[in-house]
Symmetry: C2
């Protein structure tokens, strides 16, 4: 998408350097963060310099390719296996991470049997990681086209967290149908949940929508039920970090509440995600691991002070305990349909898409 008139992807490989938009400083600054080796890239995933299902996946793929570059100067195969483990352990919930790591890992399994092959394998790793990123962008664009068919003129859409282009390589999942609908000439309005603790809604989704000149207001997470009950929300679209075989979907903490309130008020609730988000080995939402993140995210909040400096303020008494699950599970029964690049599918029909039939 465009930033100040220039096209950017969220993450991209340049030689052996992984470049990414530095997300914690948005909307206050726009900066490119560079990772010189796989460890720096893995840290950028853990620290959420890059975040969002597809963006984590593409970054993880690039990180494995980076490890292959580094391997020849180290101890080859063992180095790569170790790197793959480090990258896998950066975030537990997002399926796209495992999907991408596995794909790149598969093409480099011959690594270490000779100098010529090493060069060949390096090429293959880069090609596979780049393909994952490209496919992510293409899938998200397709999700936009399919999803836009659900959006009528003057539609008022609620979204939670950020499943825009910053969460993928380009276009996004939940926001892609909105971008497409706008380009088709439909008037759309977006309710943006701020999405505590990290405020991906008020920071990232708001920034994206502002750049795309789409009408929106930011509300606290507490207020979305108020507007749903008053019939001021026509549909909800969110992203997902992992979808189980039965259609249960993990997404940013708070999504479950929005889904229940939407159902209670007869508002369609859509999950938009590329099929790389589906974990076919995962029978149900109960089997999806939920990441619990640092207490610091709840104790404080990061923002821009009156001098435009980025700083943290703390909002609790000192020395108290908090809990900070980063995701929750929305059971399939609350999901009207899942918007994928392969079609708009009811959760209980997900198995029709199963990888055996791909």
């Amino acid at each position: 998408m465009l930033v100040n008139g220039k096209h950017y992807r969220t993450v991209w490989l340049e030689g052996h350097i992984v470049n990414m938009i530095n997300q914690p400083v948005i909307p206050h600054r726009f900066e490119i963060h560079q990772c010189m080796n796989y460890k720096e890239t893995a840290e950028a995933i853990s620290n959420m310099i890059v975040r969002g299902a597809g963006a984590i996946g593409a970054t993880a793929g690039f990180a494995v390719a980076q490890a292959v570059f580094e391997a020849s100067e180290n101890d080859g195969f063992t180095f790569i296996e170790n790197a793959v483990n480090v990258i896998r352990n950066t975030r537990p919930t997002a399926q796209n991470l495992f999907y991408a790591v596995n794909r790149v890992h598969n093409v480099i399994k011959d690594y270490g049997t000779g100098g010529v092959i090493q060069k060949e394998v390096r090429k293959k790793a880069v090609a596979e990681a780049s393909a994952i990123a490209d496919e992510d962008a293409v899938s998200c664009q397709r999700i936009g086209k399919l999803g836009a068919s659900l959006i009528e003129d003057r539609c008022r859409i609620l979204t939670h967290c950020n499943a825009g282009w910053l969460a993928f390589v380009d276009w996004g999942s939940a926001l892609s149908p909105i971008y497409t609908a706008k380009r088709e000439g439909k008037r759309v309005f977006v309710w943006v949940d701020e999405t505590r603790p990290r405020c991906q809604g008020s920071r990232l989704t708001a920034w994206e929508l502002k750049e795309e000149q789409i009408n929106f207001v930011v509300i606290t997470d507490n207020a979305s039920g108020f507007f749903m009950k008053r019939h001021e929300v026509d549909m909800v679209i969110v992203g997902s970090d992992r979808i189980a075989r039965n259609g249960d979907a993990a997404n940013k903490i708070g999504t479950y509440e929005k889904a229940v309130i939407a159902k209670e008020n007869d508002i369609p609730f859509y999950v938009a995600a590329p099929t790389s988000t589906i974990d076919w080995d995962c029978p149900s939402g109960d089997d999806i691991p939920i990441e619990e993140r640092s207490e610091q995210e709840v104790l404080g909040i990061v923002g821009r002070d009156e001098n435009d400096h980025i700083r943290t303020v703390y909002i609790t008494p000192k020395g108290i305990k908090v809990r900070n699950p980063a995701f929750d599970i929305t059971p399939a029964e609350y999901i009207t349909a899942i918007i994928t690049e392969k079609g708009i599918i009811k959760p209980d029909e997900l198995k029709k898409l199963s990888k055996d039939q791909d």
Copy 2:
């Protein structure tokens, strides 16, 4: 309740000065804010130096008494009528405000008919305002005793916003049963929603519970559904700012969502409030006016920086729009019972308490 071993009420009258605990600076500082005249007291209500249903009510009562002090130096009756209007217009949702203003206003209706009567009327105004504050404390203590009967040993209670003693004159409504249960020797644990935008949960409820040495954790508003769905919440208790005749209850924005999620997960959902919160002239929740507060509360957040200074940081792009309703309505169907000083009552039996039968 005790602060550093000394008993405090949230608000009290000393001569013609209204004293109150300065709530926006809690938990970072403990300060008493003094209002020298009714206008300062009215401003303290608008600016939420004092907030919470019962505390607003008691403060408003004191403000009317203050206006009576000031009236003799001004133009008597007209001055008071004007003051009453100013005080009434500070906050639109909390019923306790109108309840208290009306009560003090009623005893001073003879004002202005002579010097002796003026002195008498001043006494009456102070007596009535003080009675309202005292009754609030007594009612809340009684709510604590009745409500504690619902709390079993090892109970895990979720609360939203602050309906503790800071929201009343003493004891509180939602937290009073928890304080009483603790004193009865029961082990209780409290899930504290942070309650954006003003964080009354993470600031005020957390501070109160810490002072009372009650086990709690603070969570983001998004996380309470997660813990309810995992059966880690045994009951929900919240306060209310106005209860309609049909049992619908207005409370801090986000309460409606908690009530729906509680019902979905078969968790009892209690509203704790003195009967002064019931608006007998209000047929249903649809008739309760909902205050929409400043955009600043959503654009930014107030906290303590690394040098213990209180400051605001901003979490959205510049120049965007927000919406900020301060309350929502929980329909009676989601409320298991209302804990009042006169008994624990199912919402549809509220009419039995009607003022005609008092």
